[in-house]
Amino acid sequence: MNKLFLLLLLVSLWACNNEVDLHMEGDPVPIVYCLLDPAGETQYIRIGRTYRGDSMVMERPPVTDSLLWQAQMEVYMEEYQAGTLLKTYEFLPVTGAPKDSGFFPQDALSLWSGRMKPVPGNEYRLYVYSGNMDLMVTARTTAHGLPEIIDPMKLPGRKVNFEAGQPFTARWYPGNYTGVYEMIFRIHYQDSSGSGIRFRSADYSSGGIYDIRHDQVLDYSMGGPSFFKAMAGQIEPTDSLVRRVISVEFMMISGGLDLSFYYRSVNDAGTNFTNFLDFTNLINGTGIFASRSTIRITNLELSNVTIDEMAHGNIMSSRGFLDSRGQ
């Protein structure tokens, strides 16, 4: 009996191992990005996978194969209204389409598309299924309603002014299920020189605005020195060019609630607001499935006061702009 106890003790001691391997190989996690556009007829999904990197990952990007999910996939989406399935849409891989290098660091990253126009208020369920890996990535989101913009309004005589002390206040009725916005004023101008004319533009952005209220008119004020600094940061000084402001374009990008939580989780990482850290609404994967849309109002006018300050003000005077009188 004592021998048996001794043997068991030896076996149990032998089995003890206090070394933990922190770098165990794990299965790659699918990364899925899909932003439905309620204004678009075709929707896109980007599918990749997680990869292991070290502290030099920014200098040494991962090789192509480590970004791709090598699996046979089926991608489809279901549309629900009040809990009732309306339709199922199949998504197919896109080949040969030009890809933005910012969104596709490797051209071989998988892109899928489907012909569908999301309806605000309807729920959409995404399924990415890999049979040979026995893995299903799922997510659901509700398409947000498009905001109704009150200001800026395109009217003869009404102008946009960014003078200090007279902030421009954008106003809008929020669409249902909307939670994040970005407003961009795009200043269109022309460069004239002896060699000809070029049309160019510079952007003044509000940055992301997280606001999930739906029961009132929302507003956001912009302008003052930040406008002129944004312009000076994008328009280089010149001695040889003559520049003239042509028009202003207003863009409002809005995102659904899921995108707003994702935005806030990224924006507030490292702060006290940590509940949404690494937010994702995907099951069995990471990334985001949400809705996003852009509204544009073109051919707005910039006020004479702002044009004069671009021509003669401290921040922009070296950029070669003509004032409102063409001087």
């Binding site: 009150i150 200001d151 309004m153 009217l155 009404r158 102008k159 007279q166 206040t169 006061v305 409102s324």
Partner: protein
């Protein structure tokens, strides 16, 4: 007697606590900036026989002289909106000339018969002047006639 004196003190304190100034007064007042004055424009849409959503504020600009107003050499301009009636400017003391405009977007001949000489999408202008005093606030009602 002591009780009467006590009640008298309470009465005095209550009277002293009353403030007869109306805090909502929008007339002449003092501003925080002693070198500048504040002018507040009450920009009401004219009351004419058109639906309210067919009339829009389009301009409220200031110039130092009447002729510079005519030449569109403004020193400041408000970002006017249909949802905002009050617009303020912080200015150095002196006389300023202003212009204000409303736009008519009613279809057909409605704008024309309501007094907009150019009809649809034409602008009804008014102008005037204001004097700004350092450290003072003034309210100016914009009147279309």
């Amino acid at each position: 007697m002591k009780v009467a004196i006590k009640y008298l003190w309470i009465l005095i304190l209550l009277i002293a606590g009353c403030n007869p100034d109306d805090p909502g007064n929008t007339g002449t007042g003092d501003t925080a900036n002693p070198t500048h004055g504040l002018i507040v424009f009450d920009f009401q849409i004219p009351d004419i026989d058109l639906p309210a959503n067919k009339l829009h504020r389009v301009d409220l600009s200031l110039a130092r002289t009447a002729d510079s107003l005519y030449r569109k050499q403004y020193i400041s301009a408000a970002n006017v909106s249909d949802l905002k009636q009050s617009y303020s400017f912080v200015l150095l003391p002196g006389r300023y000339f202003y212009q204000a405009g409303v736009d008519c977007t009613a279809r057909g001949d409605s704008c024309y018969y309501a007094g907009f000489p150019g009809g649809y999408l034409s602008i009804w202008w008014t102008m005037g002047w204001v004097d700004v005093e350092a450290g003072k606030t003034f309210t100016k009602n914009i009147i279309f006639q």
